[in-house]
Symmetry: C2
Subunit: 357 residues, 2 copies
């Protein structure tokens, strides 16, 4: 009937992976130049289809284990106290296609990243207004997007603990970079959970339900897990691991993306680094395996990436550049990524091959 | 040193193709619902890197074989008579990855398409003001994007004949869907050539030069050619061939994109059709190889796609849906695409596998 995602493979890229790669999109790495990623360059992963939502008839349902369930229109939500935050978002599957054997899903290399400026309203005051029952343990967020994974048909759903949603930066957002959300980014409303991988920030949000048991639906229990085999439950994927990426220097060859740099000048290598676990405290740049500390710049905001730069005296020949971030928890990017079954959280260092001529 | 694009292959997808697919992006086919494609869903092909252009210091140079060369700022161009046109743009390499053997470049399947509303000023009055010399035969358009293809380093350049640029709809555009161009769409200014494949609409435009000999640079002579072997010059790729695409019905399976439709109701199949050669005169829908005419809707504009729909009485079982456009020149989409070396202009019919249950 249709091709099912099988076990990870050492085989070639499949048509199914290519179909996903042509629909979804990474941020071209040169876009790391911008503090704020333009809407059309931000990474995007759509599990099912981008749903068509009519904003006029759309309502957000807030209910479940609460004292006072209610619904809100987009106008209602837009009238609430607004905050705007720059937030770095990354797909939990970023780097998946670099693992061996290769887990089968969207075949990201490095580019599933972006840093947008999101405007919305803090979630907790809304839940406070609904009045969570004492036995409520989680909030379940339901999107309008619907489809099948491993034969289970469902709307996209994820949950968070009550504790987690008390953070004031957990928001319901209706604008990105100062404009209403475009359809692919979750119009008319999405959840935004700064610091967590992107799957948590449910798009096309239509319902928030307080539940008295931890949610065990497909997107919570069957996927987004760190595990070593199909049968294992594994550990949930949550906060973004530290990572640095650089703007590839010089000019590219179209097909191979190999870089060419002119000799005889100091090349300023620039990039960004981020972590959902803590502040970025160090970025190192590797030139042919020899590591030096980069100069750290400012963060774009408390939940956003931090700039860094490194002056490279580019000598003629073939070189490999790398970069590696460390955060305030002491976590650093691995050179070789420990493997996991679903290809989650691969934050191994970026390498860029450069010819100086 | 780096992997070169080789001859077309029957082998598996390469890392180089995947790198291109994760940077560039197709329009998810469900976006065919929108008359005007949101900026962040429009297809995008960047040959080299998205260049960083400072709009304040940027100037458009108009010169070469003209009586009165001049330069213009973005303010100058924005002050000229403006027109807004909806234009369907498609990559000449759309469908490439479906050819056997597979030409090696960006591995598009169906999605290299979009229909935006572009605002700018007609090009011809500017050239008239410059005063083309009698021996000027073409206009050469130079972008700020630079890199290598097959070891030739160059800025992206394409030319058009004097006759072609007299069409009033050939424009210099600075806005897309009512907002300034985002960087990836050519900020601050791009060329727009309605009816032609996308490579003609040079992004990040910095120069227009009247030339007295036909341009034979890389992007004009070495690529974007219909040819059967590496050595042949071939015929230039120009106007967009007719094509129809449908919004895939029902809901998808995440990995395979296989579609599931509920039985017992009439499924309205909707889509768009376009051609750069003439008006769309017919769209046919194939259900398991049996063809019927779809109902044509309106065009979004004289250079934009036309909607169509077809009521499908979906019976339980496995089905294959297809669609096929014919234009006013009599050209129709082929069921099986004649092969060419670079995978250009593949407008073979879309097929969508659907389970009705």
């Amino acid at each position: 009937m249709y091709t099912k995602a099988s076990d990870p493979t050492d085989g070639p890229l499949t048509l199914e992976e290519l179909q996903l790669a042509t629909r979804n999109r990474g941020m071209p790495l040169e876009a790391m130049r911008y503090d704020i990623t333009p809407v059309g360059m931000h990474y995007l992963l759509t599990h099912f289809d981008v749903p068509f939502v009519d904003a006029d008839s759309w309502r957000l349902q807030v209910g479940g284990a609460v004292a006072r369930p209610f619904e809100l229109s987009l106008d209602d939500i837009s009238a609430m106290p607004a905050q705007t935050l720059a937030v770095t978002m990354e797909c939990a599957g970023n780097g998946r296609a670099r693992l061996r054997p290769r887990p089968l899903s969207n075949p990201w290399l490095y580019e599933a990243i972006g840093n947008a400026e999101w405007t919305g309203t803090s979630l907790w005051p809304l839940l406070d207004r609904a009045g969570l029952n004492d036995d409520a343990v989680e909030l379940l967020f339901t999107g309008a997007d619907r489809g099948l994974q491993k034969e289970v048909e469902h709307n996209y759903q994820r949950s968070l603990t009550v504790e987690e949603v008390k953070r004031p930066e957990v928001m319901l957002v209706y604008a990105m970079n100062g404009r209403p959300l475009e359809p692919q980014n979750g119009f008319p409303l999405r959840l935004l959970v700064p610091g967590w991988y992107g799957m948590t920030s449910v798009k096309w949000l239509q319902g928030i339900e307080a539940v008295t048991q931890p949610f065990t639906g497909y997107q919570q229990h069957n996927t987004y897990r760190f595990k070593q085999s199909a049968d294992e439950l594994g550990e949930p994927v949550q906060r973004i691991r530290p990572r640095a990426l650089m703007v590839p220097p010089g000019v590219p060859d179209y097909f191979s993306r190999h870089r060419m740099v002119d000799a005889g000048r100091v090349e300023l290598i620039q990039g960004r680094a981020w972590s959902g676990q803590g502040e970025i405290t160090k970025v190192e740049v590797g030139v042919d395996g020899s590591w030096s500390e980069a100069t750290l710049g400012d963060s774009v905001g408390p939940f956003a990436w931090r700039s860094w730069s490194f002056a490279w005296e580019a000598k003629p020949g073939e070189h490999t550049l790398s970069c590696r971030a460390t955060d305030s928890t002491g976590a650093a990017q691995p050179i070789d990524q420990p493997w996991n079954y679903q290809g989650m959280g691969n934050n191994s260092v970026q390498t860029v091959a450069v010819t100086v001529r």
